[in-house]
Symmetry: C2
Subunit: 149 residues, 2 copies
């Protein structure tokens, strides 16, 4: 059990530098469009899943409501998101990507995918699928522990 | 290439929530010992690699010097680290784990490994090794891009 624990531990030690350095790479490439890693993540959720409330965005990103609201304000100032009436709840508006926001996210994503496609080139698709499944399982179990602690 | 890019992208989307939620779980369990995720990371490097300077700790953790110095100050106040003369450079001291620091880290690590050993239980060791290799390759390539950007 401890040997298995060490393997999971080694795996988790890889993820922090990956997040930090990915964020720096993405930040550098987003700067020209006036976006940050945070505003990009919010724009992504809205472009992919459609309009939702600020708390719903927070649930998807595992982030606090206040941070999300700031990102939404920044995106709205850039003309990339807008508020819409919520048919389900009169008092909690929906946030939606504007056509300009949807278009910008599509371009950003295409550039990113081209760059990402060149990475970890020594691993074939089968390895990438296994790595994805392992990370999904870890996420599920770490989330469970978080909710217990 | 774009399909491969999408696979790497899906993989990278898993790592951010994993880092955030792991940090919350670890924080909760460290609180009783007066440690944080940051001070724990510094103590770990020192316990595993031996005494080193603050800039060297920063290089290992991909963190700025100022943050490291604060963590070292906190650890020293807790009696878990101490400064030592640096035989190589008279003006840059070495930071070392004290016996109490080494012992505390060993206990923390044993507890963590026991907990981690129960995670992602549907994946055998072969899958964990593949996932680790993929993340190592991604880290290498993302670091390269960071240095270019």
């Amino acid at each position: 059990m401890s040997e298995r624990g060490t393997m999971v531990y080694d795996l988790l030690r890889q993820v922090r530098p990956l997040v930090l350095n990915s964020a720096r790479v993405v930040e550098a490439s987003l700067r020209a469009d006036g976006l940050t890693v945070g505003t990009r993540a919010v724009l992504e959720i809205l472009a992919e899943r459609g309009p939702m409330t600020v708390p719903d965005i927070g649930d998807h990103l595992d982030l606090a409501r206040q941070g999300i609201q700031r990102h939404v304000d920044d995106l709205t100032a850039l003309g990339l998101t807008e508020t819409r009436d919520n048919p389900a709840h009169r008092r909690s508006v929906l946030i939606a990507a504007t056509p300009a926001g949807t278009e910008l996210f599509a371009r950003i994503r295409a550039d990113e995918l081209a760059r990402l496609g060149t990475m970890a080139a020594e691993h074939g698709p089968a390895d990438l699928v296994i790595a994805l499944r392992v990370l999904e399982s870890l996420n599920r179990d770490v989330r469970r522990q978080r909710d217990l602690s």
